[in-house]
Every structure is written in structure tokens, then in C-alpha cells.
């Protein structure tokens, strides 16, 4: 994995992601919107409710303006609409790293 990320943790759904987040030091979250049990939006709200400012990137097919707005209001930092190229994702990660370093 490029962009300085050397430890990737996966979660099958939003509930598992929240559990992993609470147990692990996470520096960046990539989440889908449409997930079983807990959506990406609900996950984002839960993480923000914990007081965390961890960067959250939403990767989703939800491209309508009101949906993007909903995600940003929930606390998402950036947004990537599927389908996307590997280069587009890389640019997002590079941008995060540039800001964090």
C-alpha cells in the first residue's frame, strides 16, 4: 500500500468497523455508504459522537447532491464516487498524507 499506510484493517460492516475503530489506532477510514447492519453514514455519526476527528473518506455510488451534503453534514471529510480509478484513490490518500505530515 502506498502513501505511507502500512497496516490495513478491514471490516465486513459498519458494526464491525466501529468495534475495530474502538480497539485500534486508526489514522484514516475509507467506508462505503451502503453496508449491512450499519451504514457508512451511521458509522460516521457514531465515530464523531465519540469525539474523534479521524479523517473519514466515503467511497460510494451515492452521487446525488443531497446525499453528498448529508455525508458531509454527518462528518465525512472527503468523498469519492464509484467507479473511480486507482489513481484517483491514490490522489486522495496522498492529499491526506500531505495534510497530516
Amino acid at each position: 500500500m502506498a502513501s505511507g499506510f502500512n497496516n490495513i484493517v478491514e471490516a465486513a460492516d459498519g458494526n464491525e468497523a466501529l468495534k475495530v475503530f474502538k480497539e485500534t489506532q486508526i489514522s484514516l477510514i475509507l467506508t462505503d455508504w451502503n453496508m449491512p447492519n450499519k451504514s457508512g453514514i451511521e458509522l460516521t455519526r457514531d465515530i464523531r459522537a465519540l469525539g474523534s476527528k479521524v479523517p473519514i473518506y466515503m467511497i460510494t455510488t451515492e452521487s446525488e447532491k443531497n446525499r453528498v451534503l448529508e455525508a458531509i453534514q454527518a462528518g465525512v471529510n472527503d468523498y469519492l464516487v464509484k467507479p473511480f480509478t486507482q489513481k484517483a484513490l491514490q490522489q486522495k490518500l496522498d492529499k491526506h498524507c500531505a495534510a497530516a505530515c
Partner: protein, 148 residues
């Protein structure tokens, strides 16, 4: 009479496969209803415009797609990998189509059925769009059913 979104669906599918999998799908006339489908992935669009999107993949198509998306040899792509990739593909197709439909609409989670000679019936749904694509030795059939 429901509006056809065949052209939009074709463009969406070809863009997704090209962008995410590096695969140039070729649209063909052949209908893949010859029992070759091994995976059926479906997603529901509800709201103002109710549709069911069904992506059928032949055995080689499921392997090719999983191999391409997960960047692994086809021989290493497990049945679970193939189901995950089929689900993600139909999710992307449905999500992209949803943004073109008169809203508001909502997208369900995808469902995948695997097996031989599997038939899928969409209750109350009329088949409006039916497209077949080929890549390599694989066939991909994309259908849209509309519930009036």
C-alpha cells in the same frame, strides 16, 4: 409503458468495468439465457421509480471479474471472492443508475445467488432492459425489471 434505460445501463456497465477492472466489455446480441449463468447478483431500487437490477455472470465471467477487481490470479479467486465482486458490481451499476432516475430513490444491499440453472423471478416486475456483454470467454447479462 416503462422508460428504457438500456443505453444508460450499457454506458454505466462499460464505464465501471473499464475503470475498476480494466475490462472493455463488448455489447453483443446473444442472450445469456442458455444456462451458462452461475452467479446472479441483484440490487433493488425503491422509491419513486422501483427497479430490480440483475447482473448474471457465467462461470468464466465470475472468475475474470474477481481476478481483475481483486488483482489476483483467477485460480486463486474463491467462490466467496466471486460473490463479493458480483455484489459490488451490481451495487455500483444500481447506484449509478439510481442517480439518473427520477427521485427520490433508494438502493438496497445487493443479494447474490450462486448455482446452476438458477432462475430469478422478480415479483410483479416487467423485464424492460436486457443487455448482454462479452469479455474474453465470459458473458455478462444485465437486466432491469420495473415494478409498476
Amino acid at each position: 409503458m416503462s422508460t428504457s434505460y438500456a443505453c444508460q445501463l450499457a454506458e454505466i456497465a462499460q464505464t465501471i468495468f473499464a475503470t475498476m477492472l480494466g475490462m472493455e466489455l463488448i455489447r453483443c446480441e446473444q442472450q445469456a439465457d442458455d444456462g451458462s449463468e452461475r452467479l446472479l447478483a441483484t440490487v433493488q431500487i425503491t422509491g419513486q421509480c422501483c427497479s430490480s437490477i440483475v447482473l448474471g455472470l457465467s462461470e468464466s465471467a465470475a472468475l475474470e471479474a474477481a481476478s481483475a477487481m481483486l488483482q489476483m490470479p483467477a485460480s486463486d479467486a474463491s467462490a466467496a471472492d466471486q460473490r463479493d465482486v458480483a455484489a459490488e458490481l451490481v451495487n455500483m451499476i444500481g447506484g449509478n443508475l439510481k442517480s439518473l432516475l427520477p427521485g427520490p430513490c433508494f438502493l438496497s444491499l445487493p443479494t447474490v445467488v450462486a448455482g446452476r440453472e438458477v432462475e430469478l423471478q422478480v415479483a410483479g416486475g416487467a423485464l424492460v432492459d436486457d443487455l448482454t456483454f462479452a469479455f474474453g470467454s465470459g458473458l455478462y447479462r444485465l437486466r432491469r425489471y420495473v415494478q409498476e
